[in-house]
Symmetry: C2
Amino acid sequence: MYVMNEIDENSVYWWRPLDDAELDTRGKILTAAYREIHVNGFQSASLSNILARTGVTKGALYHYFPNKTELGYAVVDEVIARRIYLSFIEPLLRFDDPIDGFIELIQNAGKAFSLTDIELGCPLSVLAQEMASIDEGFRTRLTAIYDQWHSSIATVLERAQREGRIIATVDPYAMAVTIAAIMEGALCAAKVAQDMNKMHQCSYGLTQLLQLIKTDTGKG
Amino acid sequence: MYVMNEIDENSVYWWRPLDDAELDTRGKILTAAYREIHVNGFQSASLSNILARTGVTKGALYHYFPNKTELGYAVVDEVIARRIYLSFIEPLLRFDDPIDGFIELIQNAGKAFSLTDIELGCPLSVLAQEMASIDEGFRTRLTAIYDQWHSSIATVLERAQREGRIIATVDPYAMAVTIAAIMEGALCAAKVAQDMNKMHQCSYGLTQLLQLIKTDTGKG
DNA sequence: GTTGACATACGTACCGGTCGGTATTATAAA
DNA sequence: TTTATAATACCGACCGGTACGTATGTCAAC
């Protein structure tokens, strides 16, 4: 069971589990920390800001988390990983027709993304760009999320290939990584330009790519 | 005339103009600041580190730059913009056959990128992810670089389409943004995974995309 | 009376930025 | 050629503020 997040109701990343932990002090810290990190990045995220926003005191924060880094890890593990899964990975598994379902997902994405999503960008790639080369703990956690995403897309493509819907020359995993790259690059381009059109253009390009790798059977 | 950069000789971003300014105090500050920002991001870039690395004093720094932000702008305008141009934009303009030249460029990119490039990622997207939503001055400067890149790729595709080498259904600009997104997403994926293979997989996917949009004439 | 869940005050390090001062070079009048 | 003046190119101590982290204390529950 899920509810909308009070912080960014319009975000595609808004689904979160509703559990008791979310309502308690630890959950409040985690939610506020996610937001602070998404906006400012981890290094520039201010614990004081997080505390001010939640009303939680520093003693409480350090009661639940030994230091800032571990708080960051918890945000990745418990907030970001779950949001990416619910928004981008889990929907892939529900397709009847793998490729047409994917195309539909891509095209709907244009409408699903809010201005907040565009302005702040994907929390996963923001953190990846900042922390991957600085902290190994972040890097491994973020890599795990990416690998899961890549594998999920590859699974869809493999199934489509097995069913003869996409051409045999496609390497499912390489194409999966490429597709994920387009989606990530699209968000980055839209964020910098502050222009949804950049994302729509990538959405168009990705759709065209998917159409082109279809077999005649797949098209029929 | 260009020389290799003393900081990261193996980087694809290494070409830089050799001029007197590069050798003087201001140039030293700019070079060190570029490196510090590339590694730590702008907000976490420490002026003290930059000064320590160059041997330049704080007085000298504030003689040439009114504040940290303006130093950051100068790094974007004078270092990053030039490096991106020389490494990614200018080569596009020299192709004889637009599409085959592009494919060759993509495939060579796999070898051209060094471990440093992979570890630190593209300085443009690192800064974009961090600063686009925080500082408008950074955002407009970075957007200008992206727009130039997108337009350059679009020009190549338009020419190829005019020459009947790629299919008519391709929207050159949308495809250009998509191609740029793949390249950027590829670097990000490789950076997080610390694995060149991710980049090679995207390179393979992008090559396949380019092959698929070729007309029979283009293939012949 | 011990444990968990906080609250508050404090410490230290580092941050970007300022400011008075100096050494060197450029300009130009004498 | 000398001298006066001005501008440029630094130098480095110092400042207020904020950062993360810690130490100690409180209070309810079991």
